[in-house]
Point group: C2
Chain length 435, copies 2
């Protein structure tokens, strides 16, 4: 008797849409207790600065430091971590960084301007943010790839100071994470974490400089703190559980597809793997591969829970029907495991990242393909984008009227401002009209 019992749907069922929606439903719960704890931590960091940051770090991370000086790591320490890595790991990290950097350099937006016939200049100035904060989780969930994916776009954007915070519970340091920080051009590292680290970055303390934006993943306390400080600083998305949707024509090795589904499922019990195929027999083959491969997996229990609770195997009418189902899901990751992925791409409207062809395992995108692995989850790909260089640049409109242009446009602005009852606006414009 198998332990795996995956939800199977057919797009021709009369209640398909309702059942699909029910499986996709996900709302992060904002717990009143967590909110209260986080708000208290933020208040104390704002009022007491370093002293509160040291106290919280000693308490939550079971440390015993006397001052912030003991909670900062210098560049030498990061370099030491990089040099201490096995050659194979160091090379892999540097290859990944080089590819991620090369891809993100294509995203750099530049300033532009144009001049009208009467000499009026209009434009947009694009500049990097001054200073950003990067949250990196400590302990088990410490991912060096996440350091690269969050820090490199900021570095490419031209951000001068990248401040990383990473907790070291019980003093345990992750050498791969520090090495990744060295490779990605992180400026300063503080070994603090939790809501207290987010508050320190958002408001600044005597030692930790205030940043303009905070990015990076974290637990519920970190996510709640990011929501709370939003407005004082910018934040990236608050991510939901990871998702993959694989569209397969039935001709990929079912073991490959099963393992691709596992690679999302192993993230956590709430991760959502979805297979859509017009080939009912192939779906059965993937089920058999799942049964066969699951007992060989290190993270068997997590994968099993994800499969039983959130996975969906969907029989579609054809590949166009599969694309329609994808557009309804708007998944974080989409694999087009089909003979002609470029043809099918034309029917895809929403997905964070699209992995085309049977060779393009989603896992390659997590590490070294080049594009970012921070992607919109929970259907937000309908309106949001992968993390990118554009998230670390901001724009200012430029307007310089000639006397001629100000006179002509002053007349237009005057009519519209008076139409809105805003007479100071109108008179300000009218001063510039030539008599």
């Amino acid at each position: 008797m198998s332990k795996v019992d995956i939800t199977c749907l057919d797009s021709q069922q009369s209640d398909f849409e309702a059942r699909l929606d029910k499986m996709l439903a996900w709302e992060s719960v904002s717990d009143a207790g967590v909110n209260q704890i986080v708000n208290e931590i933020i208040e104390r960091i704002r009022s007491e600065g370093d002293a509160a940051l040291v106290e919280y770090t000693n308490r939550f991370d079971r440390m015993s430091v006397a001052s912030m000086a003991e909670l900062e790591m210098g560049q030498e320490r990061l370099q030491q971590a990089l040099e201490g890595l096995p050659v194979e790991q160091r090379q892999a990290l540097e290859t990944a960084a080089q590819r991620v950097r090369a891809y993100h350099e294509k995203q750099l937006a530049g300033s532009w301007q144009y001049t009208e016939d009467d000499g009026t200049m209009l434009g947009q100035q694009v500049t990097p943010m001054d200073r950003v904060g990067l949250y990196v989780p400590g302990g088990k969930a410490a991912y060096p790839s996440s350091v690269l994916m969050n820090a490199l776009p900021a570095h490419v954007a031209g951000v001068e100071e990248i401040i990383m915070v990473v907790p070291t519970p019980d003093g345990v340091v992750n050498e791969l994470v520090l090495a990744a920080a060295a490779v990605a051009g992180v400026s300063r590292v503080f070994t603090v974490g939790g809501a207290q680290a987010v508050a320190a970055l958002a408001y600044g303390t005597e030692t930790v400089p205030r940043v303009d934006k905070i990015v990076g993943p974290g637990n519920i306390f970190v996510a709640t703190a990011k929501r709370a400080v939003f407005g004082a600083v910018g934040i990236d998305m608050i991510a939901g559980p990871s998702e993959i949707l694989v569209i397969c024509d039935g001709d990929t090795d079912p073991d490959w597809v099963a393992m691709d589904l596992f690679s999302q499922a192993e993230h956590d019990e709430d991760a959502q793997p979805i297979l859509v195929s017009p080939d009912a027999e192939f779906i059965e083959q993937v089920k058999a591969s799942i049964e066969k491969l699951l007992p060989t997996m290190e993270r068997e229990e997590i994968i099993e829970q994800s499969l039983n609770n959130r996975a969906i195997l969907i029989k579609a009418q054809d590949l166009s029907d599969a694309a329609r189902i994808n557009n309804r899901v708007a998944p974080e990751h989409l694999e087009l495991s089909v003979a002609d992925p470029e043809a099918l791409l034309k029917e895809i409207r929403h997905a964070g990242a699209i992995f085309m062809g049977r060779y393009t395992a989603e896992a390659l995108g997590d590490y070294c393909a080049g594009p970012n692995h921070v992607l919109p989850t929970s259907g937000t790909a309908r309106f949001s984008s992968p993390l990118g260089v554009y998230d670390f640049q901001k724009r200012s409109s430029l307007i310089m009227f000639s006397d001629e242009g100000a006179s002509e446009m002053g007349k237009v602005a005057s009519v519209l401002a008076r139409g809105e009852g805003l007479t100071a606006h109108a008179r300000s414009a009218e001063y510039r009209i030539k008599s």
Copy 2:
């Protein structure tokens, strides 16, 4: 005895920074009562749809309609509003729309891709959102310019459906707003407002289609509802009070500068006008102009309160010092009312929109210069940008590995995934390595 008592600071005072920070401090209060009302409205719209929307509209807007059919306006009604305008207003509206459209067309980002030596393709697909919602306030604060500024970037981005909601309290319709909707390419108009309109756009009802993003200004109920539905849909910024910072070298007509300050102050009592000048005598002249002009203003009381509560006149050391002060404030609007604005621009790091030269009144930017008038407030120009076409486009990463590329990168991904303890990721990549 004057009624105006404006805060004056000098950047050389020892407590200057602290006093400036105190004047700038602004935190929007999230009221528990408002939150509860809004959450209840959202829940009822989600569960009861049109019926609840009709009931709330009848109650809050003092209407007596029987069904949603009475709360939709067709394209003919919008055209009728446009054709009914006085010629001068219609021409001004169309000129403004044409200029805003032309400017925003420069912001259109395109898809890109590149192919590596081994045949691997990487890229980014840029596509418009499918459907967006535009909130337009009813009553006194109904601004046709706001319809243009919010709808035109979506239209330029290629969004197929732009759904506008605008309440008509007591049945009062604003013809200029409807005319602006006609000019800006709005698809459908529902005469509903408040938290109930936001909820209808976010989740959909039998009649109102669910959108991907909601933009546009509104009162505290609208802003609270937008925060609450964020995640289910995208939203634009929640704006704080309007701000202007004028840097003047002392050679602009002080009446012009006074009126430019008034044009922010007349928005509301919390609006913040700031003048920075190295010329102490000029600051006195502007004060005199303020005293002289204030009694002539239609919105005298609002302007007076804004001036007394939030305005600041700052004596700087020189223009570089003025630029430094600006960068600390990161204002929504910045006027460089100086002889050589292009030289000073080099020292400006943060501002939503920059109005260069003595002729470029900020009011021109509100209506018809071309750039957007929806701008980051409360110092958020440090990390955010004017509303633009980019707010209505989203990106998907494209990755298509050749068999060769997948084999090479599979090795890199495998090393990094095993370093992170994610063995399903590693094995998924390893399947694609050639033996």
